[in-house]
Assembly symmetry: C2
Homo-oligomer: 352 residues x 2
Amino acid sequence: MQKGKASIQFECPPWITAAGSIAGKKEGEGPLGALFDRTKEDDRMGKDNWEEAESYLQKEAAGLAMKKAGLSPQDIRYLFGGDLLGQLIATSFGLMEFEIPLFGLYGACSTMGEAMSLAAMTVGGGFADRCIALASSHFATAEKQFRFPLGYGNQRPYSATWTATGCGAVVIEKEKAAGGKTKGEKMAKITGITTGKIVDFGLKDSMNMGAAMAPAAFHTIWQNFQDFGWDQDHFDRIITGDLGTVGQKILLDLLRKEGYDLRQQHMDCGIELYDGMKQDTHAGGSGCGCSAITLCAMILPKLKTGEWKRVLFVPTGALLSTVSFNEGRSVPGIAHGVILEHIEEEKREWNT
Amino acid sequence: MQKGKASIQFECPPWITAAGSIAGKKEGEGPLGALFDRTKEDDRMGKDNWEEAESYLQKEAAGLAMKKAGLSPQDIRYLFGGDLLGQLIATSFGLMEFEIPLFGLYGACSTMGEAMSLAAMTVGGGFADRCIALASSHFATAEKQFRFPLGYGNQRPYSATWTATGCGAVVIEKEKAAGGKTKGEKMAKITGITTGKIVDFGLKDSMNMGAAMAPAAFHTIWQNFQDFGWDQDHFDRIITGDLGTVGQKILLDLLRKEGYDLRQQHMDCGIELYDGMKQDTHAGGSGCGCSAITLCAMILPKLKTGEWKRVLFVPTGALLSTVSFNEGRSVPGIAHGVILEHIEEEKREWNT
């Protein structure tokens, strides 16, 4: 059902029945380290180059999600995925051998929100029983592409974020798609989405992505409140993707001006992922893998147990490109909101 | 309704009610020149750089499509768009001021098929009354990014294609979304889609994209035939995006081996767009703008009049990246099929 300008409320909410996460060494040493399905000591993943390493992350995360749900690639109708690299090479090469029809997506670090939104619409509209949504990033492929080669050893300002190495993948199923086939769990249901527009506050600092994305996160959260007629108290948590400490402050300020106080509910995957003081990550984590692995490893498990009943998950993207950046253009942002809810045990039959 | 492994048949087929096309100088001088809504003498479009010129194409094409349908940006629920550039900068900067929620897509030159597929599912699933799907490319932004700076003046082999400068945009509406509001025409209905997977035959020549894409086009067309249980005779035309003369030959050969003879039905937007002998475009046109503007300027008008009753439109993409290419990787392909049908005049009321 269409709600307001940019939101949808699903009459039959699709279920997330499995989540796979794989992360790099630094992420494994952070506060969420123990929660990932797998962490790798070697960020090259034994591959010849960083891009192949990121492709490996995609393949592994999708494989883990399928395995947990007891599914094979033939059971998945569509893949919705993306990464930060030009022409999505991590996705293309990583997912090729599954031979599943693919929708390639680019929403910068908001890609996990975009992928989940489109997968949920596809399942909710009856066009698929099971899809996978996933997104990855890799510190080395991203720094090489967007900023400096790692060997250059440039200094990073305190506003800079650290691109996460990792990939998170979720299986999104029609509620009754089980049919005895899936062994997936009732991790959460997607009850609605709010799709972001491009928001540009004119910021031009490639070392301060948090500030570039905060206005987009603000707009999507604000739009969600308008479209559904609720406020922050509707949610246990409102979780942005990778604003970091600098972007978080701007987001809370922008929302306060509109009369919303999110200090109780707001959480940011980029802030959760690392111990900024000990791990030298400055403002926090970033990259589309950051929100994807935090979702899979921390957010969904808490929704599953019911510790959180309702979460607004808002991956945030900064549309940075070296080409537009070098031509003096600003860095616009975009953020896609996904409403996740706990699935009550008693209300539904499952695997009967 | 799900059909077979990778296809959907829409129970309420969304309608294409308007199409806007804008093209560059060379495209304007080609065989389809008179059919475009607008052609520009200056490929820089009066802008400071090529990327801004391509953004201008996106803005103009979307604006033209909305104007023809008598709609304003507020009437459009979602945009589905993309281009060939890293981080989709032509799309981000071109569509920003419409303030419409955006799904950024990357399917190389297959993006128009991907955008139409997702927009049709969104409308068909009841999640939007009106969407716009669009894709653009620009010769200068693409050559600069993928191959050589134009000033270098490198020689192009005969297998090379010429990236089209242009953007095509279509308004996709729920059949009855009119509600007295739209002034759009009954251009065609989208009765089904077949979504492509990544197909890699190991080709490594960045100057022969047609050969890289042909196996993907083959697979999507073959899959369409399997999923629906029909063959080439079901269609008046089966129109690929930008295989060019080299890719066309490979496609026809691959299909013949499976028992399908498409010589009567096959057409390729890249072959139609230029006069290869006179315009020095070698194997044909390419780029996601190539199939998008050919769709808007030639294919949809013929479907509207009923000259063609049924068309399988299959934009084809080569997942070329300078990074993966320089690392010695192959160029995989992907192709997304969209089934377009003539809307019979007598069956429906319209604008009553």
